[in-house]
């Protein structure tokens, strides 16, 4: 067989984006359930999103310690018994506090769901929060905090978010050693009562939960177990005076961690999709300009990337890299050069087509199957966005031009808005 290795085989453009159907319904008490039923394995994942994030908690560590302590013992079972049963069913419980929610995740074989959801009900409704368990969690958390504080990457990230959102708002990620001492069991008990409630709670189900899932959920979580309303949210102060340049010294560091970024907006902003595409060109994938210049041409770093982070009330774009101290200034200079080029020069047609095609493929990957779909869908809940949001992104991606991208770069990548943080040497 004669083949031409110099020429790429023909390929098809991705011209359709199909989202798995998402069914929504309410439990008897109003809890909203979002169901993505698909997949060839008899397993299901259930994410419970409670209005119990660190913004509602209003006190550092309170949301995460409360969330972690749920599974450490109930009025019916000790913490050891909870773990024992969950492990016996081959299930997994994940607990994660974020800014506006605390999430409890159950991953379970379908045929054990009646048993595993019964355990989940118990830990969510009847935790006892023993002092000893809370102390253990706080100590563990303190150690993790100290280990993290040894990493230049973490030091740079904290300085960056504190600069953007201040030390008062949870978005700033500001925690002191005193916070570990001042958290009490009473705080935890009270926060649990106020925040692990039916109102404002969502359940996202993916996989094959079986046909009677609605009935099981109503049995376990459908009663009005509390008539509290969600605690109020607070917005970060956007009028902060921000530093343009911050240096966090760590004398014994072998590398410096760089964070260069700009404040941005939330996902429902009309320019969000375009900025997402511009970010990809700059540093959002392996073939990005930053990666090509700073890693593949100059070998200054193992990795460099940029990404957009959005929360309910704010967002930012940040470029992140670890480099050896001697290369720091050159890397910073090159990052600014790449940003300037986006403002000053039109993106070439070939590059734009490549990024477009890569992102189209990425969309297919990000929504491949129920579990991937639910991970992305979760991001819509805070802003109450419809699923057509994803189709809109697909359409913008198909049609965006180099001119539009340049305008966005000029509008948002203003030299005077760029914040540079360095941690290390």
């Amino acid at each position: 067989m004669k083949i031409n290795r110099h020429e790429a085989p023909e390929f098809k453009n991705i011209d359709a984006f199909e989202l798995l159907p998402i069914e929504t319904f309410k439990l008897n008490n109003g809890i909203k359930v979002h169901l993505m039923q698909a997949g060839s394995q008899d397993v299901a994942k259930l994410d419970f999103l409670f209005p119990a994030g660190s913004v509602q908690a209003g006190k550092p560590l309170l949301a995460s310690i409360t969330n972690k302590a749920l599974s450490e013992g109930t009025t019916n079972m000790s913490g050891a018994e909870v773990s024992e049963k969950i492990d016996f069913y081959g299930a997994f419980i994940g607990q994660q506090a974020s800014f506006h929610h605390s999430i409890v995740t159950l991953v379970s074989l379908t045929h054990f769901l009646p048993q595993t959801l019964e355990i989940l009900e118990d830990i969510i409704k009847n935790p006892v929060f023993e002092q000893k368990e809370i102390d253990t969690l706080i100590n563990k958390r303190k150690q993790e905090y100290l280990i993290e504080s040894d990493k230049v990457k973490t030091l740079a990230t904290r300085a960056f978010t504190q600069n953007l959102y201040g030390k008062e708002h949870p978005y700033g990620n500001y925690v002191t050693m005193d916070d570990f001492e001042s958290l009490t069991r009473e705080d935890v008990v009270r926060f649990h009562q106020k925040a692990y409630i039916p109102k404002g709670t969502h359940i996202i189900i993916s996989g094959q939960p079986g046909n009677d899932i609605k009935a099981i959920l109503n049995q376990r979580f459908g009663q009005q177990w509390s008539d509290e309303s969600p605690l109020s949210d607070s917005k970060p102060n956007v009028d902060l005076r921000r530093e343009k340049s911050i240096f966090v010294e760590k004398a014994d560091a072998l590398q410096s961690s760089i964070k260069i970024g700009i404040p941005l907006f939330t996902k429902d902003h009309p320019d969000f999709f375009g900025m997402q595409i511009l970010n990809t060109i700059l540093g959002g994938f392996f073939g990005s300009r930053l990666m090509t210049n700073i890693r593949e041409e100059k070998g200054l770093t193992y990795g460099i990337s940029s990404f957009i982070m959005t929360y309910k009330y704010a967002g930012f774009l940040v470029i992140s890299s670890d480099v050896k101290a001697e290369n720091r200034d050159l890397a910073v200079k090159e990052i600014f050069n790449e940003i300037r080029q986006l403002r000053e020069e039109l993106i070439g047609e070939e590059e734009l087509e490549l990024v477009r095609n890569f992102l189209l493929g990425d969309m297919i990957r990000n929504f491949d199957g129920p579990f991937a779909t639910s991970d992305n869908y979760k991001g819509l809940i805070d802003l109450n966005l419809p699923t057509s949001y994803f189709n809109q992104f697909f359409e913008v991606l198909k049609g965006i031009t180099a001119q539009e991208l340049q305008l966005l770069a000029q509008k948002y990548f203003k030299e005077e808005d760029i914040i540079t943080v360095i941690a290390g040497k």
């Binding site: 067989m1 083949i3 290795r5 110099h6 790429a8 085989p9 390929f11 098809k12 991705i14 698909a38 060839s40 394995q41 397993v43 599974s71 913490g79 050891a80 773990s83 492990d87 016996f88 069913y89 081959g90 299930a91 991953v107 074989l109 253990t136 100590n139 563990k140 150690q143 993790e144 100290l146 280990i147 040894d150 990493k151 072998l254 590398q255 392996f286 073939g287 890693r295 593949e296 041409e297 100059k298 070998g299 200054l300 770093t301 193992y302 670890d322 480099v323 050896k324 087509e353 490549l354 990024v355 095609n357 890569f358 493929g361 990425d362 297919i364 990957r365 491949d368 199957g369 579990f371």
Partner: protein, 412 residues
């Protein structure tokens, strides 16, 4: 049951296909049977450096990444002490692009001085970022040479010394390529929304003409049995002490692999496991404990490790670990406890079958070690493990003269 179809091309390339119609995508996974254990003692870190070079363009295609991204694909790779594994995913309709790219770099790399120079620097930064500039990051660099004195598992995949990477020459690169990268030393696995006959045709078209190559036949000397207790103590600027203990065990293809794996699960898989309950929850000595096995192709290691809470001395910590190891070496696990770890394994096997890419990687690995079909026997092999087997295994493994212990002390 995972469906499997296989062919072997005349040049020795093994081709494995798994059809999963639930995805619009396909995965192409190429596994090369070369890892850091195939390196020379004075040229370590080479297999991994080579993985980086595989993205620097091949004989007929100047860039590997761009043409793949152009058709909506994405890719990555990893290197272990045994294998180097390259994988990509793309829309199934564009499968042929994956064949074109992977076959050209198996045929011949574009050996360029420039690419070598840049990737040397990149890998050195990776070395620093992951191993030197990270709290506890140098543990692999300390523990491997303590446990292995002869076998090349004594150096980690990143290499034992930055100088080895700095000194790599283009001649080294070429000879490494021709003695390890060959159709007869690789497994190609394709999974996803594909038609097996079509995959075999593409394999023949793109890989069929790549010549069979003579492989490096250097024998790897086995590690002799350890006969003395080994210890190493270091001090680092970290917030908490750590203890890291390793014991020699068998290899992935040994019959008792499943027994040793469940032995480690009884100790630390899941929050209810013995060490988590006893050492973290009840006695509150550690913030974190872990027990796991390496699953290496040659005889590997059973690791028991833990990070201490303030107030626990390393000696006390080691003693508490020893109590758990003594207990499992003297009393049989109950039927209930054995059933629990088997249930956990069974569900994690089900979870691992969700991702078509994961299946491609696993199938390639099983094919290399024997035959891809063995993947469907895993559950039964775990189910067959007995309490007596676990007891025997624990007694054989947890002997002081089979152990190497690292005290990683905080100087703060």
């Amino acid at each position: 049951m995972i469906n499997i179809e296989k062919r072997t091309l005349s040049n020795g390339l093994r081709v494995v296909v798994h059809v999963d119609k639930s995805t619009p995508l396909a995965a192409v996974n190429v596994l090369y049977n070369v890892g850091s254990k195939n390196e020379q003692a004075d040229k370590t870190g080479f297999a991994h450096l080579f993985e980086h070079l595989m993205f620097g363009g091949s004989k007929n295609i100047p860039s590997y990444d761009a043409p793949l991204q152009m058709v909506g694909g994405d890719n990555n790779a990893w290197t272990s002490c045994d294998i180097t594994n390259y994988y990509l995913t793309l829309p199934a309709a564009n499968l042929e692009t994956g064949f074109w790219l992977e076959s050209d770099r198996m045929l011949e790399l574009d050996f360029s001085e420039k690419s070598l120079e840049v990737q040397r620097k990149v890998v050195i930064e990776e070395f620093k970022q992951r191993y030197l500039n990270q709290p506890y990051g140098d543990i692999p660099l300390l523990i491997s040479p303590l446990a292995y004195k002869v076998h090349p598992y004594q150096w980690p995949t990143i290499g034992k010394d930055i100088a080895h990477i700095e000194n790599a020459t283009l001649d080294d690169v070429k000879s490494f390529f021709y003695s390890h990268y060959a159709p007869n030393n690789a497994v190609l696995c394709v999974s996803g929304n594909v038609v097996p006959e079509k995959v075999f045709q593409l394999a023949e078209k793109w890989f069929g003409a790549i010549p069979f190559r003579e492989l490096d036949s250097k024998e790897i000397r086995p590690e002799p049995e350890q006969n003395e207790e080994r210890q190493l103590e270091v001090e680092r600027k970290v917030p908490a002490d750590m203890i890291h203990k390793v014991f020699h065990i068998g290899q992935r293809t040994d019959d008792d692999f499943y027994t040793v794996d469940l032995l480690s699960d009884v100790l630390s898989n899941g929050p209810s496991a013995r060490m988590n309950q006893s050492l973290v929850k009840e006695q509150q000595l550690f913030s974190d404990v872990n027990a796991y096995i390496s699953g290496d192709h040659h005889p590997g290691l059973f690791t028991v490790t833990g990070r201490l809470l303030p107030g626990t001395t390393i000696e006390k910590a080691e003693e508490a670990i020893q109590v758990e190891l003594d207990k499992i070496s003297s009393e049989m696990v109950s039927d209930y406890e054995l059933q629990k770890v088997k249930n956990k394994i069974e569900s994690s096997l089900v979870f691992s079958e969700i991702s078509f890419l994961n299946k491609a990687m696993n199938l390639a690995s099983f094919e290399l070690l024997g035959q891809a079909e063995n993947i469907n026997d895993e559950v039964n092999k775990y189910q067959a493990v007995t309490a007596q087997g676990i007891l025997d295994c624990a007694q054989k493994t947890f002997r002081p003269t089979n152990s190497s212990t690292l005290y990683y002390r905080s100087s703060k």
